[in-house]
Structure formats: structure tokens, C-alpha cells
Symmetry: C2
Subunit: 216 residues, 2 copies
């Protein structure tokens, strides 16, 4: 039975299932991102959440259920942030630049998201495939890119016959890869790619690549 909100303006609640649930998910995100699915410890998540194991199993059934929920929540968050993007009033070039910057900085700001996706790919996306929610998560970024491409082509500033899905993948790749592989790349190149300076160089280059390609 779905819990309907009581009309009484809640007094001082110390029982806060929603808060407890969210605390568990926050703790799980950190733990899973740091250690992967098999490396993560349920006891650690319980301790970090300020709650306890019993609540975890009450709300999420088991470790796998918790993993799936954390994963879905991460996608939802990305989708929410992407939804706020509005490039309709920008020029195609400006818009594309803004989009890439957003994507790059989202990756920079959400290393847990990167780690989570990599872990899920290690499992061949077996959890995501069983997710009912994921169908609606088709990323809004794709819609925005399609629009920008059309306008740019009409105005003659972008080349023709660019597949939006391919370009989306390219943009995603240019942001994601850098942060996904930042530790091995830093080691091999002997540079600290985490530094803001290096990140700026990388973003500028990425934008130059895509805009350079899009020239008619």
C-alpha cells in the first residue's frame, strides 16, 4: 500500500525511513565506487550510513538489490542534471562547446559514477539489463545534440550527414575515458592528470577536435 502523506504538518520526526534509505544509498555509492561490487562490504556500508545491516536488508533485500538501486539512482541523477541543460538560445557552436564542457565536468565531478559504470560493464551490464527503470533513461543529451546538429547544418556552420548517436558517443568518450583511465594514464605519462591545469588542456583539446571535425 503506497503511503499517502498525512495532512498533519509533521511534528518532530525521529523516524525517517526516507532519510535512512537515502543515507544507506549515499554510503553504498561511496563504498561500491571505491571497491566494486565484490570488493564492497555490507558491514562497511551499514557503518558509514549511520544505520545498520538490518535496515539494508529490509529496504533492499540483498547486496545485489542494493547495487541495482545505487546504479539506477546514479543514472537518474545524471539525467536530472542533463535535463537542466538549455542550449536552445545559444548558437550551434556555442551550444556544442557548452555541452562538451558540461559532460566533461560532470565526469570530473562524479568519479563514483565513472567507477560504477565500469564495474557494471565488468558484469556485462547484467544488472542494468534487468532494470525496469532504465528504459526511460535514454539520455536527454542525445536530444539536445540532435537539435544542435540540425541547426548547425541549416546555418551552414556544421558539416552534413553527422549521425547524432555517433557524435554523442564521441563526446561521451572524450569526457569519460580521461577520467576513467586517469590513474593509469597519469602513471604512464608521469603527469598528474587530476590537476585542474591538465584538465583544462584536455577539455580544450576535446572541444577543438569535435568542432574541428564539425566544420563543413
Amino acid at each position: 500500500m503506497p503511503k499517502s502523506k498525512t495532512p498533519t504538518p509533521e511534528p518532530k520526526r525521529t523516524r525517517q525511513p526516507d532519510v535512512t534509505r537515502r543515507n544507506i544509498l549515499d554510503a553504498a555509492l561511496v563504498e561500491f565506487a571505491a571497491k566494486g561490487l565484490s570488493g564492497a562490504r555490507v558491514d562497511e556500508i551499514a557503518a558509514r550510513s549511520g544505520s545498520n545491516k538490518r535496515m539494508i536488508y529490509e529496504y533492499f533485500g540483498n547486496k545485489d538489490g542494493l547495487w541495482l538501486t545505487v546504479l539506477e539512482r546514479a543514472y537518474e541523477r545524471m539525467r536530472e542534471e542533463e535535463h537542466a541543460i538549455d542550449v536552445a538560445r545559444m548558437s550551434p557552436v556555442e551550444g556544442m562547446r557548452y555541452l562538451m564542457e558540461f559532460n566533461f565536468k560532470f565526469c570530473s565531478r562524479n568519479p563514483e559514477f565513472i567507477a560504477l559504470l565500469n564495474a557494471e560493464n565488468l558484469h556485462k551490464a547484467s544488472f542494468l539489463k534487468n532494470s525496469k527503470k532504465i528504459r526511460e533513461l535514454y539520455t536527454p543529451l542525445l536530444v539536445v545534440i540532435t537539435d544542435l546538429l540540425q541547426r548547425g547544418q541549416r546555418e551552414g556552420v556544421f558539416r552534413k550527414n553527422v549521425d547524432p548517436v555517433e557524435l554523442y558517443t564521441t563526446i561521451a568518450a572524450l569526457g569519460f575515458f580521461y577520467f576513467s583511465n586517469i590513474h593509469t594514464l597519469s602513471t604512464i605519462f608521469g603527469r598528474n592528470l587530476l590537476s585542474p591545469k591538465q584538465q583544462k588542456v584536455r577539455l580544450d583539446h576535446s572541444i577543438a577536435v569535435v568542432l574541428g571535425y564539425l566544420r563543413p
Copy 2:
């Protein structure tokens, strides 16, 4: 004491430390790539290798030592294959195209390499950082790209002021990301990106992006 080769042409050897060692590493590569470091089972590696746990601990000390050796070996293999690349006699455009194709197909052909790198990045490259061998593994691809860029710029077919390291990262990203995230991308797009047809579309697009960018 390093074992010097006996002058006698070995008869029928049933003792073959090198073979056993390699079998263990092959088995470990598969297991680690499929399940990550913490998910992999030493018993499973022993069984798959046709050898046994005792030998694993004899040769590699512990699970972590085995992991590091597998990782180094994967890098070495890549380096060897890259070393065979010779684009000196190709035109800059041809050479760049060939290089990207090589990189893309290497990723396609070596999914274990992809999985290994992702797992190592999850650990913040802590094993690679402690590797003595890794310093010499600075990828030869970088040298080849630098050469191609110079020639292309001199001949006027490539734009000027392109940083080879940045371009290398871009090329690596365009190949790696697709295969690294192939399962989640396939799920979200509802397409089977593993199919050769989709792979060709992706490679063609990637080449078009880089060559499009490189136009003066």
C-alpha cells in the same frame, strides 16, 4: 642465480616451469578480466591453468603478485604489437587512418585488456605505480603519432600546433571507450554494439572525427 640454457638439446621434458608459469598467467588473465581482482578466485585460476595453487604461490607469492604480473604482461603484449607498426612509408593521412584502425581493433580483439585496465583504475593504479617494468612501457604509438603529425604538418595536410600526447589520448579514448562501455551502451541504446556492422560504423566515424579535426 639465473638459469643458463644447457647445451644439451632437451630430451622429452615433462618438467616445464616456463610452460606452467605461462599457463597460470593465461588462466589468471581470463579469471581476473571476468571478475576483477577481488572477484577472481585463486582456486578457479589453479583449476583452469591445469596446474595447482601450490605452483601459483611458488611463482607469484600471492594473489596481488599474480595480478601485477598479469597486468605487466598485458601491457607488454600491447607494446609488442604496437612495435610492429610501420607507417613510415604511408602518407600522413593513410598512416593516421591505419593507426586508428589498429588501436580500435586491438581493443576489439583484447577485451581482457580493457577489463584489466578498468579494474586497475578502480584501485587507482596502485599496482602499476609499484611496477618497476612500467617505466619502459611508454607506448610506441606515441612516437609514431608524433612522426605522422610532423610530416603531415610539413606537407600541409594537417593543421599546426597539435599536441601529440593530446591526440594520442583522443585516439585511445575513441577506441577504448566504445569497448569499455559496450554493455551499458548496448543496453541504453537498445542495439548490439558487439556486432561487426556496428563496430565498422563506429570506427569509420572515429576516423572521420580525427581526420576532420586534423584538416588545416
